[in-house]
């Protein structure tokens, strides 16, 4: 019997220290304490959605949960990602011709959105599996290709996230203190803005750029990174957060820091002078070049936290343009999905909400690992771009502390007195509070080939967290 264990009489100093209370529930009881000059921190408690009470109680009562979450979060935070190499997908991912990776949870051609279809068509053309877009579309529609989520191959891809064998990949490796686990994660090279494959464009200039990236950019970066040695991404990200990036919609500082880090090694590559100039111009001229590195770093961190039984930590949030999916540490590789929402934000030129595709991309791995929307307070420069004001940015980051398990030891927000960013989304807290993760995102045009039409904020559908909670509840061991 439990009570026969000798009880610890200390009670955390309850009877000996000055009383200080946290109160949840009726304000009357907190007021009565305040009348007696007892310090009270009040909770603005609200009931969870009807129907979730049983699963919440089961999961909150899971004796494994607290330790499992501590373990999972420790693993996520212990990862020290470095850029160690740049190599073709066919080599590092065992990607065979006719297999394409894509963003988000699993999807079929039939259910794929415009930008996803466009990107797949472009990848068919790039791989010379079709001569025309029409032929590519027919092949894809006939189901003669294999579609697999990036997330299933330690990979993440922005927007449509389509990866084909000839694309070059950033190779990111965990070189954390406890012995370089060797865990790796991958992401493609960022194409820049405008008409690009990741937004579903597949015109000749898109394919031409992708060819150049495979023939020139990839090999030059490979040589530069190998000459430089592993590039410490955590350090660059930590600095960039203090320079106004949030590492999802703003990567200007991080990209600049990366250029500074690699410039000499790029210059010394054994490549034609004009290629070196083109590479420096391309990387330096693309404010989002670092996004793909932040994503791979996030993926390496999140994967380390996978499959801890009892843990309610979210290890992936991803969208394929049709569905929003999450994966949770305690439920293995299972996806919990629901229809993706259309982001709310500002539109470029004459585009409007009717031109927007539902939310798409694996870039939510940044929010999953404590940056992006979770670090909005660090990036006042972009809050207007996504349709807000500076206080909104501060409020967004502060709100995320309610649903996260910890504060990032390396990523700090100067304006919050260098408080660590909120990191480690906890399914139980999302359900309890009804606060959904805040995601910064680009908005893709709904028609294949249009490209980016805006940027803004989006929230995951609440039901994916409810579904994950139900699954966690079913896995709670019976006493």
């Amino acid at each position: 019997m439990t009570q026969s264990e000798s009880p610890e009489p200390g009670l955390g100093g309850l009877l000996t220290k000055d009383l200080s209370v946290v109160a949840a529930g009726t304000p009357l009881l907190a007021e009565a304490l305040a009348e007696q000059a007892v310090p009270v921190e009040s909770v603005d408690w609200r009931p969870p959605p009807p129907g979730t009470e049983g699963a919440l109680a089961a999961v909150m009562g899971d004796p494994r949960r607290a330790d499992a979450n501590a373990t999972a979060l420790d693993r996520m935070l212990a990862v020290h990602p470095h850029l160690v190499d740049v190599r073709p997908a066919r080599e590092v991912l065992d990607l065979e011709p006719g297999t394409f990776l894509h963003a988000g949870p699993p999807i079929t051609w039939e259910r794929a959105s415009g930008p996803m279809r466009g990107a797949l068509i472009g990848a068919m053309l790039l791989e010379e599996l079709a001569k025309t877009p029409e032929e590519a579309e027919r092949t894809l529609a006939d189901g003669r290709v294999v579609l697999d989520p990036c997330h299933h191959r330690q990979t993440v891809g922005p927007m449509a996230g389509v990866v084909s064998p000839s694309m070059w990949m950033l190779v990111v490796e965990d070189r954390g203190a406890d012995g370089r686990t060797g865990r790796r994660a991958y992401c493609s090279l960022n194409e820049g803005l405008g008409k690009v494959l990741r937004y579903g464009a597949y015109g000749p200039e898109v394919i031409r750029r992708l060819r150049w990236m495979s023939e020139v950019l990839g090999p030059v970066l490979r040589d530069a990174v190998r000459a430089h040695g592993p590039v410490d991404l955590k350090a660059i990200m930590a600095h960039a957060l203090q320079m106004g990036d949030e590492l999802h919609n703003r990567n200007r500082a991080a990209t600049t820091l990366l250029c500074r880090e690699l410039a000499a090694d790029i210059a010394e590559c054994d490549a034609p002078r004009e290629d070196i100039g083109d590479v420096l111009r391309f990387v330096g001229g693309n404010d989002h070049f670092f996004l793909n590195l932040a994503m791979a770093a996030g993926k390496a961190s999140a994967d380390a936290a996978r499959s801890v039984p009892g843990s309610t930590l979210v290890v992936a949030m991803a969208r394929n343009g049709t569905d929003f999916g999450i994966q949770v540490s305690g439920t293995g590789d299972r996806w919990f999905t629901a229809p993706a929402a259309v982001p709310d934000g500002l539109y470029l030129g004459s585009y409007g909400p009717r031109d927007a595709n539902p939310d798409i991309g694996d870039s939510t791995i940044t929010e999953t690992t404590g940056v992006g929307g979770f670090a909005m307070a660090a990036a006042p420069a972009i809050v207007r771009f996504i349709g807000g004001e500076v206080p909104d940015a501060l409020a967004a980051t502060r709100r995320m502390y309610e649903i996260t398990l910890g504060e990032h030891p390396a990523f700090q927000v100067p304006i919050l007195s260098f408080r660590g960013t909120p990191v480690g989304i906890d399914v139980t807290r999302v359900v309890r509070t009804g606060i959904l993760p805040c995601v910064n995102t680009g908005i893709a045009g709904r028609v294949a080939g249009v490209g980016q039409v805006g940027a803004g904020l989006v929230a995951p559908p609440a039901e994916v967290f409810g579904a994950a909670l139900e699954a966690l509840a079913e896995l709670v061991p019976r006493p």
């Binding site: 019997m1 009880p7 200080s20 946290v22 007696q36 603005d44 408690w45 609200r46």
Partner: protein, 534 residues
Amino acid sequence: MNEPEAAAGPAWVDVRRGLYRDSITLMRISRGLAERDGVLGALTAMATDLNLELLSRLGFTAPPDVGPNDLVVAIRATDEATLGGARDVLDAMLTEAPAAYAPGAPGAPGTPGDDQVPARTIATAAARAARSSGIAGTAPTLALVSVPGRHAFVEAMDALESGLNVMIFSDNVPVAEEILLKDAAARRGLIVMGPDCGTAVVGGAGLGFANAVRPGPVGIVAASGTGSQQVMCLLDAAGVGVSHAIGVGGRDLSAEVSGRGTLQALAALSADPATELIVMVSKPPAPPVAALIREAARRLTTPVVFAVLGDGDGIGSGAGIRGPGGRHERRAGRDLTAAVEAALAVLGVPVPSWPSWPAAVPPRPRPGALRGLFAGGTLCAEALHIAAGTLGTVHSNLPGRPAGDTGHVMIDFGDDRLTQGRAHPMIDPSLRLERLAAELADPSCSVVLLDVVLGYAAEPDPAARLAPLIGQAGDTAVVVSLCGTPHDPQGRDRQAAALRDAGATVFASNAAAARYAVSLIEVSEHSVIEGHRR
């Protein structure tokens, strides 16, 4: 649906789905609306069955398809303009930000550089309070949980994981959850007080319903909130103070929960240098639990006085004293007052004459029924026990007692079934006031016995609402058990004077009040025999 006569005037009923406000805030809003000129009736409440029934009683048509997560608002007024005005006021009151911050508290709006919005979970609030406590302040040691019972487990578990002890004020919490919480707490060296723990005193501060008592050498462990309050108030009246009063919840000594909280509380108080004597207040424990407690008390270095209500308790009938090795064991009466007297004897303090405030015109005994209307469950049980010894059958909603509304009746208005979606009767007296009026109008009722429990969190001026009714009692005698201290926010002596001036006879000892009330019932030969037969 039949519209009651009083309900003349335009009515309006609306549902705010998924909008949650706690029952006390809603009670305040209802009362604020009802007090407006031209408003004939108003109710804002979560749509529990109990509240829907109340809505019908007030003459409103309950909306279809609503549940306890929906907020129902209903107003009836003399005319449309008044109704419209009341609706605007209602909307303003409902949209007001919850009064979550004491002014100047850490994190209060306007505090530069700190969080601007109240925390949404206990974990966040605990982390915030710990951060802002700094070097000089004190990090929180306790979470006070008063959310609706079906949500209390989650909040309490969150508190334990944040390293906080927990007092669960909420009732309607499943017993399996109570056991899980108490075990989780013990593993962390923490304690869960409750569920349904209404009263605690920690280091002089009253939590929940607690009285302003002087500091002193007596530690209280109580499975009953009002029992604990009665003991601390009588001790205070005798000039003896309280170190701490730890509540454990009414089910702690059941066979299932097996004294988990009581054993921890006894150990903690025994280790506490400020505590010289422990008074344990409870109903009779389940027999195997009584043995556990007896053993634990025997091993303690601090003497324990048991104030166990009711018949045979397996610890020692009524109040008994256990010292180290169980040496000085004494027997005392079977009520809380006797237990306090036993504790005073251990401390070597003389027993005072317990305060009472006799009515100017003493009532005369006459035949009829005794009706006890209680806010405190333990005070109700104690009075019932005393009354049943003389009067025989007493109907009650207390467990194990015959139900019914005729003859002698004792009702505990704090019962779980009467508080679903409503505030406790010590905060919201409306159901009891309604019943009091009915009893005073009932010719078969000759004596009404009421408890009035003062202290933090209780109604600010209970006598103000009782006195007008008592003043119209006519031949019906009104006896009041007044549980409070002179330092309570309501002022015990002010309350006593107001009740006495209205015609009631007032006692500080609940047992004395019950005996007096019983003495006012003229008993026929027949009913005495019936009483002894049971």
